[in-house]
Symmetry: D2
Subunit: 331 residues, 4 copies
């Protein structure tokens, strides 16, 4: 069976009946910086019930939405990079509070660029890594001064299963075993449900990478549970699953047909069809290959190039940036 | 309004009622080499009536289909490259017969790699050009021996409108003006209607490149009429328009609903809906952005890499290969 | 015979006896912005005598030197980009004064990214073009408003002779013929004499591109004389010719040997050897292949990436930037 | 102090006085296949004395030399690929005999593509990996049938220290820890002494990768000793160290000067200078930056593309190819 999925918690939340209605175990908060056109949304999945309802693990999902991210505007990208840095720092601070990270001393961060650098909409992770300024080599060379607070950054582009024959999780586990970082920051291209999200939304989460997520459909997880260190994940939707588009259009079509018919007194039949038969009907019509096909816009190369710069600047800002005086949390 | 299109003449032909039925002004011939699993189809659009019915210009469209092109098999790709060389030579011979090309003397061929090298499914043309062994520079250096029959090959990757600000046709025209080739061989990634065509079909045509064709949606034509020299075009479908997929699925769904309802005596309503209202309904449901979105499989990078090698070998075979003793035409 | 050359006028000037001594027909001016660590040098070759002495055509050569260009420092690169924009604007203004460019109306600029994108130290031009925001396509689409002063920008990556079989000059000429720009801005990777220049110097000249210049060794010129429109050229040295390095080291060695020997009364012999025999001796020792070999540092990929961003921002600043209030000329 | 080095054992051997003279602990064997223009050389460093003399570890170094590798000739590259496969199989057989590899059962091979994919002459390893057909993912999916003899292949492009902040040896060690391969096949671009070796020689060795070897100058080793499994290394020289070229030219110059002078009775002085002062003099003249600079030809992109195909076919031939009936060893 094909899969209709979104990697964005905010879309999963929206898809609930009543759009914005309460889900037990899931909290939602939206805010906007006074000076900014960036809309922030924080979805917190608080317990197992919430996780089950959302089909995503417990944790915090922060979404930065900005229609203008679709354009070339250096100042605007700088603003988004600063907001990303600010939210990353907040997550790191929370991890220190819960002792998932050491409270003091230099932090060793391993950045992981997930995805396939040869496939444009899956190249976001490798592209961000190409912009990062790692410094672990320099630090090792001159010795780690334990009292320093400076972050130690290393990075890896693990490739994809079809290129390496190895799960990304295997490669990352091996590197953890050898280099013992404190924290992983994983960057990945995501699949969304809605076309308008493509290249205009950044999601940051403390739940890591789940099986089945991302454009490349990771089979294994990169999470605190699986790796033993916290994993922050940054993602941008660059594709919509082909099945999602067909499904949505057909759903909306059935709705339209239905109301047409109701006005003509034929709604009875389609009531019977709804909702399980309807789903059944749609699935029969979709070819099995649909599961792996994706939909992407023709200017995706420019989107990936621009956003990979914004995200790498956000990571630099979070770990090598100024002191934290102006971090707002929207509170 | 979005566009539901295919760049393959063979798919346009198939879409006619009765699938394989006669169209005035269009001839169809299918054959298979005895020793081979390559299926060849030749669609000839013979006159204006055929051109109007097919929505494509008059000329010859040869399709090589081979499911195994989807796999890594060096010998098989060699067989396809030889068949492509053979068909290219046949088209060149026909152009000589009709005096569109000089009957003797060295032929100067300009290869044009259309598409965007930064967008994986649109990178076929640039990728083929990267494999070609041009020799015009060597020929110029040692002087053209007019009696030689050897082909002179030059090549250009003109980029796409959004990168250059110039129409591909402007760039190619300019190069013609300066270098006076006899023949253009253009290579482009195509849009198909059917997912199963992706990466498994090669189309060769003597009609050149049409406005609106290709993954990159060329706005101007590259044709004998527009450029003054013959243009052979080689293409492989690497995407399906998102609108095409949705349209096809919905069409099939309406068919299904219809028969459901007919059995229940409700067909009357949907009869009214058919066919113009139906089309109207579908169009309303599709977002306007759909026109430019495309659907492509996740392993498209491997497909483009493999086929660009097959096609460049086919071009080498046609112009630098062995004498023509074993060219079959299927006749 | 191998070629010992530099594409930098400032190095040619320095190589004269007395380093900084007067050359008839060549003027030199050096300055430094008060607030900045960028050193500017302007060499003007004023007449045929100067051109012969320098082995470069008459015109203005501005050099921006900044050791820190070798480092990743966003603010610093912004400063250099602004200086480059300022000098580009000055050259455009001068071209308007001499009526080589129309005094008013929108200016149509064609950017040309010279070099081979597959060879890292030769990829500067293509890399800059990849960052440029062309707009000719948008302008054409909405019609040119003649009274507007906005620049119309188009761009081309013509490839190199071995890839296309065509001289870059042929391709550019053809494009001029079709699109009629007013001005060419060509970007190219250069060969320097001194290793310390690699990646730390930007040269801007109004003399265009000369035969034999650049990493790729262009065979034909792109100049006002050859093309009929002004050509501004921006270049950064990314390689040193292998022959240059060997020659310099040996020259210095002969000097050392000489003084050793003079102190021992053996200078007579080496005096005889000097200077023509000396040169002869060096040439005999260098293998003929040396002419085409180049020397480049291992981190050249980072240098090209950084500087291509600086230069593209400089071009944007010159043609789409703020009004010209703060342009200093060093006067 | 700069480093004058070669990664080719055959060049190290040649550099000995009397060129081809005996070195204790080092054996040399040369042969040529009857039907072929490939020259094979096997240098075996047999003991600690040989290792010290050669500056390379004990083991077998096989060199395949073929001037025609510099050209585009598909059949010829196929011949070299077959010879490489043959020699790889021989080394695997020897490893089985000495129980460094299990004598039966499926072999799990990890291919490692060393070097920097963004720097053309260092991109050989990543380029070969891009051509390899890994199958470990397929094998894992359908379960390993223990009795099968088929090779299990996985592959990694670990990146370079400046990109990852991690030593390649750390990344590879981590992957070994997770995936437990039996054998590593590492591919790397090498530095040679002689320009004519560039792109025309393939070295295969069972000694792994040494600190300081390769274009990228690995700091840590990948060897049986350091990793616990055998490491076969395949390399092609793509650069010559700039220091090597200068050193060689000056050495030859001093020789020339000397004989000039001896004929004139001035040899006495230069006798004093020889050999230690001479070396001292040369080193003083070379700038310290020279150590990291390299010399490479302008068509290195084509060389790397061609040879990466030849080598990947050689690896496929060794591990997935026909049974071993026609392997000759030159004996």
């Amino acid at each position: 069976m094909f899969e209709i999925r979104t990697d964005l918690a905010v879309e999963e939340k929206e898809s609930y009946p009543g759009n914005g209605g309460e889900i037990a175990g899931v909290s939602l908060r939206e805010w906007r910086k006074a000076s900014s056109s960036i809309k922030l949304t924080e979805v917190v999945i608080q317990d197992a019930a919430g996780a089950k309802a959302m089909g995503k693990p417990e944790g915090t999902y922060i979404t930065m939405e900005a229609r203008k991210l679709g354009y070339q505007d250096e100042d605007y990208h700088k603003e988004v990079a600063q907001e990303l840095a600010c939210q990353l720092k907040r997550m790191v601070r929370d991890l220190k509070k819960t002792h998932a990270l050491p409270a003091s001393g230099p932090l060793h961060v391993l950045a992981v660029g997930l995805g396939n650098s040869s496939v444009t909409p899956d190249a976001l992770g490798p592209s961000v890594l190409g912009n990062l300024r790692v410094n672990r080599n320099l630090r090792t060379a001159r010795g780690l001064a334990e009292e320093e607070e400076e972050t130690v950054l290393s990075g890896i582009i693990p490739g994809v299963l079809a290129q390496t024959g190895m799960e990304t999780a295997e490669i990352v586990s091996g590197i953890l075993h050898e280099t013992s970082p404190d924290l992983i920051v994983a960057v990945d291209a995501l699949a969304a449900r809605s076309i308008r999200r493509l290249g205009t939304t950044i999601q940051l989460t403390n739940t890591g990478i789940q099986p089945g997520s991302g454009v490349g459909n990771h089979r294994h997880s990169l999470t605190y549970r699986s790796l033993g260190i916290p994993v922050l994940a940054i993602g941008v939707p660059t594709v919509v699953g082909a099945a999602a588009i067909v499904h949505d259009t057909i759903s909306s079509m059935i709705g339209t047909l239905w109301s047409h018919m109701e006005t003509k007194g034929m709604g009875d039949y389609l009531d019977q069809l709804e909702p399980d038969d309807q789903y059944q009907l749609i699935c029969e019509l979709l070819e099995p290959e649909f599961g792996s096909l994706y939909v992407t816009p023709p200017d995706i190369d420019q989107t990936v190039k621009r956003l990979s710069f914004t995200i790498s600047e956000g990571i630099h800002g979070a770990f090598f940036g100024e002191p934290e005086e102006k971090e707002g949390t929207g509170a």
